[in-house]
Amino acid sequence: MPQNDQALLTRLKDSGLDFVVIGGVCVVFHGAPFATFDLDICCPFGEENVRRIASAVADLHPAHRLTANPLPLELSQSAFVDLKNLYLQTDLGKLDCLSEVAGVGDFQERSVVASFTYGQFRFLDLEALIASKRAVGRERDLAAVRSLLAIKERNDQQKRRF
């Protein structure tokens, strides 16, 4: 199954969703060598946003990937109240949409905008990313924290020089 993060990001942006990239792709963004097999984003889970997510992947056979049997993504009225996260398998790869980031309060406030040739996207800032990885606390997250702390230290050193 392919994993095309660029295409997923572009689709989400084109849907009008205001989101922040978190997780492993955000770790890569900040400069840590890290392989991740899904795209994690965070956004408020109101009805409008959930519909935007659904529309972004509508033609990609989206299915809930953590259910015992992959259930197709179908939005009922109750889904907008009950859903806090969406873990999706799509034709362009895995897309995890979360409504909050562990260890981080206002994730939109604690994000940075990055410009790419294919658009502008928000990523969790380095300190918030470190906090989130610490909060999750799995072994691989803590390894990422070590890398991110070293990168932060290096960034701070460079800022002091200039």
Binding site: M1, Q3, V25, F29, F34, A35, A114, R146, S147, A150
Partner: protein
């Protein structure tokens, strides 16, 4: 000084030797290239640190702070981080995508192999 190699080719002479490097107090490999009485020389001094790096050992940069050292001591390959930091964020994500494509290909090949 321990001469480890000596050879001549035409008027050029090549010599490699181990020498004590008095300033750094480190063993160093020096290579000298000469060309007779009116000779010219290139001298390359490869110190112990460089030799270690050539053998795959990561050398902490002199300005490495405690977090950088701690990550290195924990076994992280800091040379990969240094390489990534030289890229723009867009280049990092593109590189990650290339690696991901390759890993998924390897994974698929592994599954085919396991099914046989």
């Amino acid at each position: 000084m321990n001469v480890v190699e000596w050879s001549s080719a035409g008027t050029a002479r090549f010599v490699g030797f181990w020498a004590e490097c008095p300033r750094a107090e480190r063993r160093a490999l020096a290579l000298a290239l000469g060309a007779g009485a009116n000779c010219w020389y290139f001298v390359f001094v490869i110190d112990e640190l460089t030799l270690a790096q050539m053998n795959g050992q990561y050398a902490l940069p002199p300005d490495a702070g405690p977090a950088w050292r701690s990550a290195h001591e924990a076994g992280l390959d800091m040379s990969l981080i240094e390489a990534a930091l030289k890229l723009t964020p867009e280049e990092r994500l593109a590189e990650h995508q290339r690696i991901l494509d390759f890993l998924l290909e390897v994974q698929a090949a592994g599954e085919v192999h396991a099914a046989k």
